[in-house]
Amino acid sequence: MSSYKNDYQWSQIVETLNKTISRRDFIITSVAAGVMTMVPRFVTAGAAEPYRIGVCLPTTGSGANYSERPIKGLPLIAAEINKRGGLLGKHPIELYFRDTQTKPDVGAREARSLILNEKVQTIIGTWSSAVAMAIQEITHEHKVLHLAATSNSSKIVNENYTPYSFQFGPNSRMQSGATVVAVLNMIKSKGWKSYVTLGLDYEWGRDAQKVFVDKLTKESPETKLIKVFWAKLGETDFTSYITAIMALKPDFMFGAIAGKDNETFVQQAKASGLFKRIAYPGVFLPVTELMQQRKTLPRHIIGLNRCPFFAHMDNPIMQKYVKMYQDKFGKDDYPDDFACMYFDALNGLDQGVTKAGSTDSDAVRKALTGATIDTCRGKLTFRDCNNQLDAASYVGEVVDTPDYPFPIFDPKSMVAVQGHEVWVPTCEEVRKLQKKRI
């Protein structure tokens, strides 16, 4: 035991993940990682206090598909920081993984347990905005930092704003706004006149659909919304929705569908001929889906993602993420959007702590508010009125490429809609949305 060093322990964690993740349940590996991160407390007596971070991610439920790569990759980033002694060179990071099961009550329970029992100072997570907002209440109550790396309801930074929460990806409002930008171009070029929406009936789906419809109605009032469909989260049979949409004969459809449900919808829609009749611009296609559906994904549909590595391979940080990830997990695997945003969240925290010169949560949040940080997507700034990172949404056509063993967005026509182009226009409007907190 005495021979353990922090960076070595982290490499051991990653080794464990690497050996087991390919076949076995990554719940086990995440638990193993969590347990192993506790080891330094017993072997580095006398060293500075470790900095404990709770990672809340679902390993079951709709969001499980997007948790694998962040769980595999976060220990790599933590190990990188710990190589130089940890935060401020003296606070080695310890990660504590918890499964939210994509359920708000479980997420809140785990967050409270992490804060009270494990004494974490930051919680990163989670997938599902409903769960993130449940966690947000707990972190606000205990004045613990909350890094919403991927959950992206706009309510997290607007209606439900707390100064302790920071959002690292484009929020649902920005994402839907980006889709509107792409759709407006197509309305002009293709003469579209009518559309339907199909959304998952939960916080994010409702939010994304509302923003899209409101914005499109404002920008193109003559484009008619024929029908609104809601499917339950975790739906496995979209066929009745698909046939109903086809019967209505709209020019295009907007989908607020994510996770496993998105893959299911796309496959069933393809087999039912939906894409032969109806355009589906803005389908959420993170790198996870591009990799997993490489054989079956219809080509030339217009997709949207939040942090595609292939759009930023000229950025040294992104190059480092990809190399670090592939060195551990093989050349066939790539960090997906979710992993990259989690990596940025952990590196962003590192930069916030450095700027604050302290690990105190209040000092760090003040340092990060309005700060510009280095990310794999370039230098990005947090909006000082709601802690939303000025992150772009990427809209592009799905095409094959000789560069990767899966399709990507066509680099020639891909559009990165910047965050500030589509977020709530002024801080005055943002503050009107924000509820008063005690």
């Binding site: 076949r23 076995r24 349940d25 990554f26 719940i27 086990i28 390993t59 079951t60 439920g61 499980a64 598909n65 694998e68 009936d201 029908k227 609104v228 469909f229 809601w230 339950k232 975790g234 496995t236 049979d237 066929t239 009745s240 929705y241 698909i242 046939t243 109903a244 086809m246 019967a247 209505l248 004969k249 496993k260 893959e263 299911t264 496959q267 069933q268 393809k270 087999a271 039912s272 001929g273 939906l274 032969k276 009749r277 054989k295 079956t296």
Partner: protein, 297 residues
């Protein structure tokens, strides 16, 4: 709501396909309850296990013999057999101890099976959804398109319904099973081994579930949690049709599937609510279900 015949027919196919999916899973549940008075809460979890096994076997065959869509057929047949054996073993080892117990105890045991098999699935296959990708291309029908796999599912549903009817009404073993529903003691007095009958029925119910999971895999992904979602809908179907009535389960599946499909047209957000309203109405006005018998109720 669209009124052209093409749209209505395609929605009807979609509803029938959903109906047959429900029937294929619910029929085993209904059969087991009808004959053995066992409420098998783990039925959909065993269905899920059958799906995962079919997925694995299909992958194995594809890796060995190359990509052929028809390899799914032997995979389904073999897994149906494996699950028949598993069902038999479960009945002999666990379920038979529950015959004299109250329903809550049966539910507790079968709920434990859900947790055990759920964790087993998690350990072996992980948490990602699994499905079999077949090159299914839409076919043009009535100025629109339809998924041709709808017809495979509809055919499978009608095939199993017909097969069960033939088995229960035209075979000696089936007649014994039906007799056992009404008087176990009398059947036993005739020298027929009731435990064997029960084990066979339980195994058959599980085998049908496994078969249906394999049939669904090319159109519907399977994943953890789907079993809980499905079992609730199956209970709704079985209650509407009448516990223990295969005909009732068949008719209720068609009602539920078609009502659901057309509700999507009219009130998309309330499609499931309408199904459960039907369930409530049946429970109030005819608690033994549309085709159940008052005696059993």
């Amino acid at each position: 709501m669209p009124t052209d015949i093409g749209s209505i027919l395609i929605q009807l196919f979609s509803g029938l396909s959903r109906a047959m999916m429900l029937f294929l899973v619910s029929s085993g549940l209904s059969l087991i309850f009808g004959v053995m008075n066992i409420l098998n809460f783990a039925h959909a979890t065993l269905w899920l296990l059958g799906g995962y096994l079919t997925y694995t076997l299909f992958q194995l065959f594809s890796n060995t013999f190359g990509d052929h869509a028809l390899l799914i057929v032997p995979a389904i047949v073999i897994v149906t057999g494996i699950m028949f054996v598993l069902g038999w073993v479960l009945e002999r080892v666990l379920i038979r101890r529950m015959y004299a117990r109250e329903v809550p105890e049966q539910l507790l045991l079968t709920f434990a099976l859900i947790l055990i098999f759920g964790d087993l699935i998690k350990l072996i296959w992980g948490v990602q959804n699994r499905r079999i990708f077949l090159p299914i291309e839409p076919i043009a029908v009535f100025d629109s398109y339809v998924n041709p796999y709808f017809f495979v599912i509809i055919a499978a549903g009608f095939g199993v319904a017909g097969g069960l009817w033939w088995f229960l009404h035209r075979t000696r073993y089936g007649k014994i099973v039906r007799a056992a529903v009404y008087s176990r003691d009398m059947v036993s007095a005739l020298g027929i081994r009731i435990p064997t009958i029960y084990a066979g029925v339980f195994a058959l119910g599980i085998a049908i579930a496994a078969f249906s999971a394999g049939v669904f895999l090319p159109i519907m992904p399977i994943g953890l949690g789907l079993d809980m979602d499905l079992i609730i809908q199956c209970f709704a179907v079985v209650v509407i049709g009448g516990f223990g009535s295969i005909l009732g389960t068949f008719v209720a599946s068609i009602i539920v599937g078609i009502v659901y499909a057309f509700s999507i047209f009219i009130w998309p957000g309330g499609a499931l609510a309408i199904i459960f309203l039907i369930l409530v109405a049946v429970l109030i006005w005819r608690p033994w279900g549309l085709f159940g018998t008052e005696m059993r109720y």
